[in-house]
């Protein structure tokens, strides 16, 4: 009974809270720009409206065009079940679950890009190509980050990897993971979700042809992914294990909020990079994570 | 022993003749004469001269002195060539080579561990000098005939060396060896003849079709 309740609670946290983050980001951007901006709950309205809408589908697209977003959404949701929520812990936890989480995210990427290629549109092909290419470096960074955590904690299961206090590598790791968060979620400076020029987009351009419920699923999945990274980042940097449950919960919420605001701040202060400079920044994030790993090695020795 | 050395010295002189002369007939003659000299030598070495020895000597003399030269003469006339033109190794150089070789042969022979009874004889130096001459002719000359002569002189050298063993080796073996050598030269003579017919020339520069 207790298990079911806690499971439902975690599920609720992930599913219901996720769409809040983009809203917050937009609020922050608007606030910095001195506008009123859309309401924080804008995405919820959008999702509700999209769910009602009819699907328009390219004549070229195969069923996978519709199935793809669903798969991606399930994959991300699956990934979230292994990420502990502070005191609430994780739904699923076993040795090596970290690898499963990474590969579920990869599965989501696969489904999104596959669906994008369905339409045979040059723009969506462009987006897909960029998505998978940048993911190559992001993946390396993530592996390095996870190795760092593993070295620090001597564990290979997320629940325990994220729990204890963080060693000296926290700063480096935070910087690295934050960059990865930005690229994985296609935020500025890698991608500009708000732009109106398809040539410069990554994620948004991939979903050009999607409409109705599938688009809703995609948007929700994206926010879910953002939340996942935010939670991951918070817990890998802050010593969650040392707090009492209540505090931990509060800290987690605060952390996620902080990350979100940070993303907003970056978006409003920075411009999008030229594409040829993107790999440079990504490599930097990889190096940050690797350095974090070395520091952790020394620290834990 | 002295008259033997005299003959050998003569043979060595003939080497120089063969090296120096550009006219084919004189080369052939020199070779033939050398063959005859060699044919006589066993008679001087063997202490008890049986009929076999005589037979072998006569066979060698005729083979090397008459038959082969005859063949070569014939081929030469058929090919209408009298002299060796632009050889690979010029006459003066080959003459010098021959002379130097002869001296070197004498020196080397001194350093070789020979049995006392051979120490004095010119057999080994003569052999070495003839072999060298033969090689120079084989490598240095262009006309097939002069090459055959070179080969003959080369074998004469070996024959000279063989005379060291004449006491000990059984006659049967010697006979076989001589027979083989003679037949060999004979075959070569025939081939020369055939080549002359096939190519209508005895210039070995024409015989370089087969190559990589």
């Amino acid at each position: 009974m207790m298990i079911v309740v806690s499971f439902l609670a975690r599920l609720a946290w992930w599913l219901l809270l996720a769409p809040l983050l983009p809203g917050i980001i937009n609020k922050v951007k608007a606030w910095v720009a001195g506008r009123r901006g859309p309401p924080v709950l804008q995405l919820y309205y959008d999702l509700a409206r999209l769910w009602q809408k009819q699907v328009v589908m390219s004549t070229l697209a195969s069923p996978a065009f519709i199935v793809g977003p669903a798969v991606a959404w399930v994959a991300v949701l699956g990934a979230t079940t292994m990420v502990p929520l502070g005191p609430a812990g994780a739904t699923l936890s076993f040795r090596g679950d970290v690898v499963l989480m990474l590969y579920l995210l990869a599965l989501a990427r696969f489904a999104t890009t596959w669906a994008a290629m369905e339409t045979g549109s040059a723009f969506e092909g462009m987006g897909a190509a960029r998505e998978v290419s940048y993911a190559v470096l992001a993946e390396a960074a993530m592996i390095a980050a996870m190795l760092t955590l593993a070295v620090q904690t001597g564990s290979v299961s997320l629940a325990t990897m994220l729990a204890p206090s963080v060693g000296t590598s926290a700063v480096l790791l935070a910087a690295g993971l934050f960059t990865v968060l930005l690229v994985e979620n296609c935020r500025v400076p890698f991608d500009d979700p708000a732009t109106h020029l398809e040539l410069t987009m990554i994620h948004e351009v991939m979903v050009l042809d999607h409409s109705g419920p599938p688009l809703a699923v995609i948007l929700h999945g994206a926010s879910l992914k953002l939340l996942l990274f935010a939670v991951l980042l918070t817990q890998s940097v802050l010593p969650m294990g040392t707090y009492s449950p209540a505090v931990a919960a509060a800290v987690l919420v605060a952390g996620v909020l902080a990350v979100t605001v940070g993303v907003g701040a970056v978006e409003s202060l920075m411009a999008r990079f030229a594409f040829r400079r993107v790999p440079l920044l990504l490599t930097t994030s990889v190096l940050l994570c690797v350095f974090a790993l070395l520091v952790a090695w020394q620290g834990a020795a | 022993m002295r008259d033997l050395n005299l003959l050998i010295g003569l043979a060595m002189g003939l080497n120089l003749v063969a090296l120096g002369s550009s006219r084919l007939p004189s080369i052939i003659r020199a070779t033939a004469l050398q063959g005859v000299l060699l044919g006589i030598m066993p008679l001087l070495l063997e202490h008890d001269i049986g009929w076999q020895v005589v037979a072998v000597a006569v066979a060698t003399a005729i083979g090397k002195g008459v038959v082969i030269p005859g063949l070569l003469q014939r081929a030469m006339r058929a090919a209408h060539i009298e002299r060796e033109i632009e050889p690979f190794i010029g006459f003066v150089p080959s003459l010098l080579l021959g002379a130097g070789g002869t001296i070197a042969a004498l020196a080397v022979a001194r350093s070789l561990p020979l049995l006392p009874e051979h120490a004095k004889s010119l057999l080994v130096p003569g052999a070495l000098a003839s072999m060298l001459t033969g090689f120079v002719l084989l490598i240095g000359r262009v006309k097939a005939i002069s090459q055959v002569c070179g080969y003959l002189i080369f074998e004469n050298g070996i024959y000279l060396f063989g005379l060291l063993l004449i006491g000990s080796t059984p006659l049967l073996v010697e006979a076989g060896v001589l027979l083989d050598l003679t037949v060999g030269i004979f075959v070569i003579g025939i081939i020369v003849d055939r080549i002359q017919r096939a190519f209508d020339s005895l210039d070995t520069r024409k015989l370089t079709v087969l190559r990589e």
């Binding site: 070229l60 399930v74 699956g78 090596g96 690898v99 590969y103 549109s121 897909a128 993911a135 790993l293 | -």
Partner: protein, 649 residues
Amino acid sequence: MTVGPLIVLAFAALTLGVVVGRRWPRLWLALTLTGAGAAIVASLAVLFGAVDWEWRGAFRLGGEALHLRLDGLSAIFLALVGVLGAAGAVYAREYWSDAHYPASAPRGRAWWSALLLSMMLVLTLSNGLHFLIAWESFAIAAFFLITLDRGQRAVRSAGWLYLAASHAGTLALFAFFALLAARTGSWDLGPMRDQAALQPLLWLALFGFGVKAGLFPLHVWLPSAHANAPSHVSAIMSGAAIKMGVYGIMRFSGWLPAPAAAGWVVTGLGAASALLGIAFAFAQGDLKRLLAYCSVENVGIIMVGVGGALLARADGDAAWGRLLLAGALLHVWNHGLFKGLLFLGAGSVLHATGTRQMSRLGGLWRKLPWTAGMFAIGTLAVAGLPPLNGFVSEWMVYLGLFDAVTSRGASAWAAIFAALMLGTAGALALASFVKAGATVFLGAARGKRAAEAHESGRTMVGSMLVLAALCVMLGLAPTLVWPALARGVAAWQPAWPVAPVPQSLQAIGGAQLTLAVLLVAAGLFAWRRLRGGVARRAMTWDCGYAAPTARMQYTSASFAGIVGGWFRWILRPELALRRPRGLLPLRAFRLERFPETVLDVVIAPVGGLIMQTASGARRLQHGSLQAYILYVVAGLVALGALVLTAGVR
């Protein structure tokens, strides 16, 4: 069911297949299936029956008594050979039918049986001399299968390259086995872990078998051979034949004592193969070449597992060593299955369209729905994505590496390096296969041939279905095969205690199953909603562009552009470019080829140098007799000098 009779049955059936293959296709198929089936059952009996099979005969071959053995390690490979052999045989009935290839199809059948037979012999023979015999006959059978379509120059040169490389490897194995025999005094093979003097021999084996395994940089022959071979041959070459090299490395690294550096070298080579192999694959525009290079990557993953296991053996750390080797072994199966599936799929595409160039294909999912579906499954598997089998083995390798890192021994650094490489390679594999699948099957047809394609017949689709089903099964029930893997590990290193199914693997199994259910449910739900008439078809929105054509689609080259730029240093693309000129440019193009770099940069120059020496030497044979006699004199003098120098000593 005892193993011996089954093995005999398999050998007998296949031998008979060689004989009857030319004349009676149906009988041949029956025999091949019998042989393959018998081999599979035999290996399963060994793997799950938990007892090795060994047989020594009095019959002498080449002066050596026959000695057969089937243990956990060889059984794993034997099963794979059986599966792919059967699938390929069925597939070839239609793909390489007598109707289309009256000349080569009968030959192909005979050689197919020969190939299966010799591979099975390689796996079971336990005597150095006989091993070499089987090994070479396997190489030659493969050569004749690759060059079945001998009319084409490209096929011939690819075949010759394969043969040359394979011969180089075989000669190294000559040295290896001769040295082994000279050191141990017998050709008989078996565990010799205690003889430390044999350590350096492993390097020879690593080279000899590495060539066959296609380990970077010994893979030069692989891409062209696998691309130009008939697809069912490519399937078994990529799926099973290169695994013979892997088998050799595993077998002898298990039986012989390993040098201290071996673990590091193998791990490093594996990691390099994984990354560079997939980088090359991503760049390719030829579907089958892409698949071939991807095999280099997967062999790399396997080798990372083996190298890690060697490191673990050196550290005496059973836990993660076992995991790594088990992962490698499972990946042997998985790669065999999904790469076989993918090559058969590529064959079906080739069969339907007559081209391997992805930039001429596109939109095939309508014409070849079954092929598209199977290929998609293969794609998910090869990208190592859950819930399919590829993920399970890669997960095991990853977990082993993570454990190696947390164990914080010296080997941790190798593990860190390998893990980073594998991560990058994994992401690249995903990219490559999104590109491959999408450009071939999605969007609009880029060419006439693609537009007029047709689905393949029952036998071809059927054999693909079988492999796909196996992929799914291994993905959803990894715990079932753990005992087999444990047997393999035990055969490699008996000192390690046999472990029950790890908790984590059970968890993964559960997770995979749940995920599969959820995915299917979500997919069905979405599809039902769509079928509910909600969807309206419309032209792809092209940002207001009025007349989009199929040629405006992203091609494979443009898709690989970004990453291709990063790896330019090793890919060394050949660019043929004509920019549009003038106001109304008539023709402009941009062609990018990615040649085999190691071949062009290393092998070709060295070969050229040797050929120069050869042609220089040939000038010595210029036909002048005088010179020849001079050579004789020279030889005489040289010998004299040699004797003098020796006499002085």
